[in-house]
């Protein structure tokens, strides 16, 4: 399906809600996980031979989730079908498929909820749009719950705050319980458990890569910037998405992180045990996996005895770290139970735990501990793409909205030319890159390209108006997705890069004349 014959939709001059194209994306289906992938995660290897078994498993699990998650229960009941969210999803805007409207995506689940869990749905199914769970329904879930990037844009506009991402997570959890998992994510989760990161890079390979980085930086700048691994007693443990260790343009930000710590004189280290900030357990909505993956961070922090935990440029990882780590692993503050206290008494309370690398860098800039040659970035005209999970599911700094200001402040501090994209496409209303939430796999390229449309339209406008040639972002998935998708829209794939790539270009390491 992927490949040159895949065409991007045309950019529109006046973006409005598209005309409906029913079932336009109905055929899209990502690869299904096999038994070898499913079983180690504790999910059934495949669908039961007998439909009734699958049916009971799914409905049973649904009942359990309704007791465990207030979000799921309230969101199933509260929607009034007002349609305010309908035209807010990038996948709907790009594909026109009505089932990609957030409310319709929820209704794929709600219809089944009503049938089995509400009196009206039990008595008058056709009146309230309730339906039995059938193999066709399960297939439909599989198709459309893998066309949602869990970006939460819809939840901003819903009068009841209904977050379709939560429903998508439930959908994927139910599919996993049915033995109908997605290959891409579940295979990677297996790698994290076995090797320690999404890419399956073992410790020695990591050390090699970091040695290579040290040489490159030395050659470039003449300075011995260290990229330490497993260094006990370091002050900072840096947890970063594993793509940062080798993928382009991610690696340029990694170089930047090291330079920041070097210039500020802060001792730091990576960990081979916890060499992954990403946590795909969130994408599949499975609390156990989410927790198990996160616990590696706790283990590494206790083992290395670090005082601070800092997270690199990654959107969903920052959501998990910022909003979930305290709950899952005790990385944070305010814990009153022994489990949390054990770690929290080790961490330095003067710093936010965890901190985002942008918070660290911005603090250092404000303290005057970093110096820049802004003109080094003069060949770049920069814009900033807010990543969904940073924008709508987390925060930076001390006040709500700090997550929008801090990265921009950094860009402005290290470069001269910066222009924001249109107001309704950034900040809390930012559009997803189109590849988040577990859809970053080649079989889904069609929807990935279509979902990028609103972002590409906004980008085209600043390219035309201001000559923008660099889109900075702080997410490993955004970087990977844009690198692939930009060319479909006639942009250069090298246009996308990290904020710390810009920092890296301009930072003075103290050896300048």
């Amino acid at each position: 399906m992927a490949g040159p014959e895949l065409k991007a939709p045309a950019l529109r001059e006046y973006p409005t809600a598209p005309a409906l194209q029913p079932d336009a994306m109905a055929g899209l289906k990502c690869y299904v996980a096999n038994e070898k992938i499913q079983e180690p995660l504790g999910f059934p290897g495949k669908l039961a031979d007998n439909w009734q078994d699958t049916h009971d498993r799914v409905i049973g699990r649904m009942g359990e989730l309704l007791k465990k998650y207030c979000s799921f229960k309230v969101f199933m009941d509260a929607c009034v079908h007002c349609g305010a969210c309908a035209d807010k999803c990038h996948y709907f805007l790009g594909s026109g498929d009505p089932k990609n409207m957030p409310v319709a995506r929820q209704d794929l689940m709600r219809s089944v909820y009503r049938r089995y869990f509400t009196p009206t749905g039990k008595m008058f199914p056709s009146l309230v749009g309730a339906r039995d769970l059938t193999p066709e329904v399960l297939d439909e879930w599989y198709s459309y719950y893998w066309q949602c990037s869990e970006c939460r844009r819809c939840s901003v506009f819903c009068p009841y705050g209904i977050d379709t991402a939560e429903i998508t997570m439930v959908g994927r959890e139910l599919l996993n319980y049915a033995g109908y998992g997605q290959k891409y994510l579940n295979e990677i989760i297996g790698k994290v458990h076995r090797v320690g990161n999404n890419l399956g890079l073992p410790g020695p390979a990591l050390r090699d890569t970091l040695d290579g980085l040290e040489e490159d930086v030395k050659e470039d700048t003449g300075v011995d910037v260290k990229y330490p691994l497993d260094e006990k007693g370091a002050e900072v443990l840096l947890i970063t998405p594993s793509a940062d260790f080798f993928a382009e343009p991610h690696i340029d930000s990694t170089i930047g992180y090291g330079k920041v710590f070097h210039a500020a004189g802060i001792s730091w280290t990576f960990s081979s045990l916890a060499s992954e900030a990403g946590n795909f357990g969130m994408f599949i909505g499975n609390y156990d996996q989410l927790r198990k993956i996160a616990l590696r961070i706790r283990e590494a922090a206790l083992d290395l005895g670090v005082k601070r935990i800092v997270v690199g440029e990654c959107g969903h990882a920052w959501r998990v770290a910022y909003a979930f780590w305290n709950t899952l692993t005790g990385v944070g503050a305010g814990g009153k139970d022994p489990f949390a206290i054990e770690l929290q008494k080790q961490l330095d309370p003067r710093f936010k735990q965890p901190s985002h690398i942008c918070e660290v860098t911005w603090d250092l800039i404000q303290q005057g501990r970093l110096k820049f040659d802004k003109s080094a970035n003069d060949h770049r005209v920069i814009t900033f793409h807010d990543s969904c999970n940073v924008a709508r599911a987390s925060r930076m700094g001390d006040y709500p909205g700090g997550q929008f200001d801090i990265p921009r402040n950094i860009v402005r501090a290290v470069a001269n030319k910066f222009h924001d994209m249109a107001e309704d496409t950034i900040g809390e209303k930012t559009f997803c890159c189109g590849g988040g939430g577990g859809v970053l796999t080649d079989e889904l390229m069609d929807i990935r390209v279509k979902g990028a449309l609103p972002r590409m339209e906004a980008l085209q406008r600043v390219v035309d108006d201001h000559g923008v040639n660099f889109m900075a972002t702080i997410c490993a998935i955004c970087k990977a997705q844009f690198t692939k998708v930009l060319p479909y829209y006639g942009f250069k794939s090298g246009m996308v890069g990290g904020v710390h790539q810009l920092v890296s270009t301009a930072i003075k390491l103290g050896n300048e004349q």
Partner: protein, 240 residues
């Protein structure tokens, strides 16, 4: 007919109160294991209360989302609120001063409510994507509310009914001393529709009213680095 409506209203009130109480307790008991406010979100409890106030009174998120739906939804809900307030005169003796003062405004509110409903229904029928997501019950709910509004306004302006008798009937209901309900077809339809609305309330999308207060993306404070949220079922996992 009097007896029929008396029983109907006792039944409807019981279902409404019982069903709603059940739902609210159910919502309140279900935990949110993870911190999931839609950010930027307030960082403290008073901030959350203020955000909730803005959502409930001004429909802040809907305002960001769609001005048409917001305007018509606001017209309907504020109209309804005023009309309900005005109807307190049927349940109180003596009528409190503010309720008495509200009477003329309540009438305009009735029209505002009907206009809002008509607009919302027109959207449902005319805008392709909203027609697509509408179920039969979405249409019926609007019809039911429109019937209530139309019969109410009709009795005010066209086919008057004996409001003193209606008041006596409801005061009687409240003190379990049943009084005759004036015979009036418009009134029968009006009251029948209201009773139906009360009955379906706890089992339908009307649950959006209590639901918003329990929506975790709106009622949680953005403080996960400072506070350790732990649902009881999640805390169990730490024991092994």
């Amino acid at each position: 007919m009097t007896l029929f409506f008396a029983i109907l209203f006792y039944f409807a009130a019981a279902v409404f109160v019982g069903g709603l109480a059940y739902k609210i307790v159910d919502f309140a008991r279900t935990p949110s294991p993870l911190s999931i406010p839609t950010t930027p979100a307030p960082t403290s409890a008073p901030g959350v209360a203020f955000r909730m106030f803005r959502e409930v009174v001004f429909f802040e998120s809907l305002f960001k989302g769609n001005l048409w739906i917001w305007a018509m939804g606001a017209a309907f809900h504020f109209g309804l609120a005023l009309v309900l307030f005005r109807h307190l005169r049927y349940f109180t003796e003596p009528v409190p001063f503010v309720v008495a003062v509200s009477q003329p405004f309540g009438i305009y509110a009735g029209f505002m409510m009907a206009a809002g409903l008509a607009g919302l229904w027109a959207r449902r029928l005319l805008v392709e994507r909203i027609r697509y997501i509408s179920t039969v019950s979405d249409h019926l709910m609007l019809v039911l509310l429109l019937v209530i509004a139309a019969t109410g306004l009709g009795m005010k302006f066209l086919f008057h009914t004996d409001v003193v008798g209606v008041k006596a009937f409801f005061l009687g209901l409240m003190s379990f001393d049943i009084q005759p309900l004036p015979a009036h077809p418009g009134l029968y339809i009006h009251l029948g529709a209201v009773a139906l609305l009360l009955i379906v309330f706890p089992y339908s999308k009307l649950l959006h009213a209590p639901g918003i207060f329990f929506s975790p993306t709106r009622n949680m404070a953005d403080d996960p680095r400072e506070t350790r949220h732990l649902a009881s079922w999640a805390a169990q996992l730490e024991k092994n």
